[in-house]
């Protein structure tokens, strides 16, 4: 049994069924918007810089005398997406251990920030980078060369962590 109720023909009034007056109404709205202030941003010419609370790509903190990371592997353990791989090795420095290899697979990373939360050395933090582009799967695996960022560029985030972590 076919019950045809609330069909388009039933809902529309006579003027609406005429079609053309409705087009004119719509164009009216469009023209009015043209003279109001703009909300859109001209990305990528005009780049948005997030605040310290933003969770962008995780990076390793590099100090003047080398990285903070001691390759404890907790970030790798806590990572729900298994994005992080760490291989430790021994150094002569006071903290005997350093990451010989530190890789984050950005295809796996879900930007949850658990790695930052668990890090006992405050060595991995979420940065403000959000526009990541890769052309292959291999390129998306970031090594230490791409992950190490000087501490001076991470002050906002470190300040945020000090306040709210």
């Amino acid at each position: 049994m076919n019950i045809r109720k609330n069909s388009e023909a039933e809902r529309l009034s006579f003027w609406e069924k005429l079609y053309l007056p409705e087009i004119a109404k719509g164009m009216g709205i469009t023209f009015r918007q043209m003279f109001k202030p703009k909300f859109t941003r001209q990305y990528p010419e005009e780049v948005w810089i997030p605040t310290g609370s933003y969770r962008g790509r995780p990076v390793l903190v590099n100090e003047d005398d080398g990285e903070r990371c001691v390759a404890c592997g907790l970030c790798s353990r806590v990572c729900p997406a298994l994005a992080i791989e760490v291989q430790a090795a021994e150094t002569d420095r006071d903290k005997e251990r350093y990451p010989e290899k530190f890789e984050i697979n950005m295809l796996r990373c879900i930007y949850c920030g658990f790695c930052e939360e668990v890090c006992p050395e405050e060595a991995i933090v979420m940065s403000k980078d959000y526009d990541l582009v890769f052309t292959s799967q291999e390129e998306a695996i970031l090594g230490k060369d791409k992950l190490l960022v000087h501490i001076s560029k991470l002050q906002d985030r470190l300040e945020f962590l000090r306040q709210y972590k």
Partner: protein
């Protein structure tokens, strides 16, 4: 036999045992650091403090009871250490009372005063007894605001052991191990109070062949292995049960594997073989040949060069060429390094071809022997190979005659299983004169370079099988490393990385070798010579062994696992099962 109550549970204890021993045997764990069942009692960590009491007695000698009819217990005002208090008739012990828990928390607080919280750097993290107890038996906070004591780090104690004095909690397990088990009394406490540390005697080194056992018994990360240091986190590895193939003692081991590579070997408790220990030789030498330089595919020699072929093709080639020789011209070299299953199938194959020339190489080294664990026979399964039929009879060619028989042309073809002839240069010199040399091997070697057909055999870490040790104890072991053959082996423990890795993750790009357990290769060759065998797995082979060879009668893998090995010919009378002590380990494991 005294009757005691531990946490209101009535226990019939043996005379002269301590409270902690009785509790352990009955499934009650009392926290402790310095106590170890194989070492003398030191009683210096104070972690095992418990409340001990006796029923109150009335002047007439009767036991005083309260209104509900229960005996009234008068507990000693001062707590006792469970590891040094022997049980007495009618004793009452409380391990979880308020006083006991307060005492444990106080001890933990003292221990953590000077313990550096460098768990992120420490190799022990994840399997540390102090970490575990800090979680279970401590308040979880520190009131200590002064600076911690600093002590020297990275002190070398010997060729294999590093000592970090800061992390040491002075339980003295290593000192007692060196003195009592390794019989090398070179360690001692120096200084006192919070400056106490452990030092070697002057001009002495802790280089005992068993030195690395102190790494396992150390409840913290003060002692670390020079070989393993920082190779991997313990939770990234999988640990599967195995048997050390370093000598005929057959020490029970666990293989720590990550990315399909053995990173370390550690002992597994077996009260009837190795207790809790194993030697440094076994730990350090028995994984290189599994990880490196492996034969991963079958090869056939064509015009002097080895050509990679499929397994079926290589087996057909071997079968076709073996057919061309008279049975008495063929020699089979079994192996004391291979399992009973492999050797049994090889012997069966020899019988199928009517060849009586069947023998194996012996690895006897008197210098290796000591009166503890290491024995002179440096192959794991010499006894087993003999039992399942790898022995020449009166008229056949023995391994000692092989060299000369090749020279005279009596032996023209040899099938070698899992051997390299490295230490037998006399025989090796003549092998190149053979018409056919088939080698089932693990690693590329001088032998494989002259072989006509190379077949990739799996090592002990990749197969399921049994070894018979020097005391004729049959022990079962299972694979720890993945090959294309055992990818779906039931019950193999996997690490988290193994479980959740995808094909495009870098850590899953490890080598899965295309090797086979030796008996499977031999079965393939035999079936091409009309043998029609249909063994599917090692279970089937072992079942046939137990039917055909009297000394194995009544055994199966489940029983071998249950009783941690059975003695040949005594399957009906296994050694009693005991609760194995494990000081500290990765949880969950």
């Amino acid at each position: 036999m005294p009757h005691i109550y531990i946490d209101d549970k009535l226990i019939e204890a043996q005379q002269n045992k301590t409270i902690i021993e009785v509790a352990f045997e009955n499934g009650i764990d009392i926290p402790h650091f310095c106590w170890h069942p194989e070492l003398t009692v030191a009683g210096n960590c104070r972690m095992c403090l418990v409340e001990v009491g006796m029923p109150k007695k009335l002047p007439n000698g009767a036991i005083s009871v309260d209104s509900s009819g229960k005996p009234e217990i008068s507990y000693f005002p001062k707590l006792q250490i469970a590891c040094a208090t022997t049980v007495a008739e009618g004793m009452y012990v409380r391990t979880k009372s308020e006083a006991a828990i307060n005492a444990q928390e106080a001890v933990m607080e003292f221990l953590l005063i000077n313990h550096p919280l460098d768990c992120p750097i420490c190799d022990e993290a994840g399997q540390c007894k102090l970490q575990e107890y800090a979680f279970n038996h401590s308040k979880g906070m520190s009131r200590f605001i002064e600076t911690k004591n600093h002590k020297p780090k990275r002190q070398s104690w010997g060729p294999n052991v590093l000592f970090d004095a800061e992390r040491c909690i002075s339980c003295s397990r290593c000192i007692r191990f060196a003195k009592e088990i390794a019989k090398q009394d070179v360690l001692t406490f120096v200084q006192r109070g919070d400056h106490v540390t452990i030092e070697l005697f002057e001009n002495k080194e802790f280089d005992s062949p068993y030195s690395m056992n102190v790494i396992e018994i150390c409840p913290v990360g003060a002692l670390t292995s020079k070989d393993f240091r920082f190779k991997s986190r313990v939770w990234d590895m999988s640990f599967n049960d195995s048997i050390c193939p370093g000598c005929a003692k057959g020490c029970n081991t666990k293989l720590g594997v990550r990315n399909n590579e053995i990173l370390r070997i550690e002992p597994r408790a077996n009260p009837y073989v190795n207790k809790f220990w194993m030697c440094d030789y076994g730990r350090l030498t028995q994984y290189e040949f599994v990880n490196n330089n492996r034969i991963t595919d079958p090869y056939i020699k064509v015009d002097g060069n080895h050509k990679k072929v499929g397994l079926d093709e290589a087996c057909s080639e071997a079968a076709n060429r073996l057919k061309q020789f008279n049975p008495h011209q063929i020699m089979f070299v079994g192996s004391a390094k291979a399992t009973n299953e492999d050797n049994y199938i090889l012997a069966k194959f020899a019988k199928h071809l009517n060849t009586k020339n069947l023998d194996c190489l012996k690895y006897i080294d008197e210098n290796f022997q000591d009166n503890f664990l290491r024995c002179a026979d440096k192959a794991p399964n010499t006894n087993g190979a003999l039992q399942v039929g790898i022995k020449p009879d009166l008229h056949s060619v023995r391994i000692e005659q092989l060299s000369e028989k090749i020279a005279t042309g009596d032996i023209k073809a040899i099938l070698v299983m899992e051997e390299t002839f490295e230490e037998y240069t006399e025989i090796f010199k003549n092998l190149s004169e053979l018409k056919l040399l088939v080698v089932l091997g693990y690693n590329h070697s001088n032998l494989t370079s002259i072989a006509d057909i190379i077949l990739p055999a799996s090592t002990y870490a990749e197969i399921e099988g049994t070894f018979v040790n020097t005391d004729l104890r049959v022990q079962h072991f299972t694979p720890a490393v993945v090959t294309s053959e055992n990818l779906r082996f039931m019950g193999m423990k996997m690490s988290r990385l193994d479980k959740f890795g995808a094909f495009n993750d870098r850590w899953t790009q490890h080598q899965v070798r295309n090797s086979r357990q030796s008996w499977k290769i031999i079965q393939k060759i035999a079936n091409r010579l009309n043998a029609n065998w249909s063994f599917r797995n090692s279970h089937d082979v072992f079942l046939e062994i137990t039917h055909n060879i009297a000394s194995f009668k009544g055994m199966n893998y489940e029983l071998l696992d249950e009783f941690q090995g059975l003695t040949l010919g005594k399957a009906e009378k296994p050694d009693p099962k005991v609760r194995n002590y494990e000081s500290h380990y990765m949880k969950p494991n």
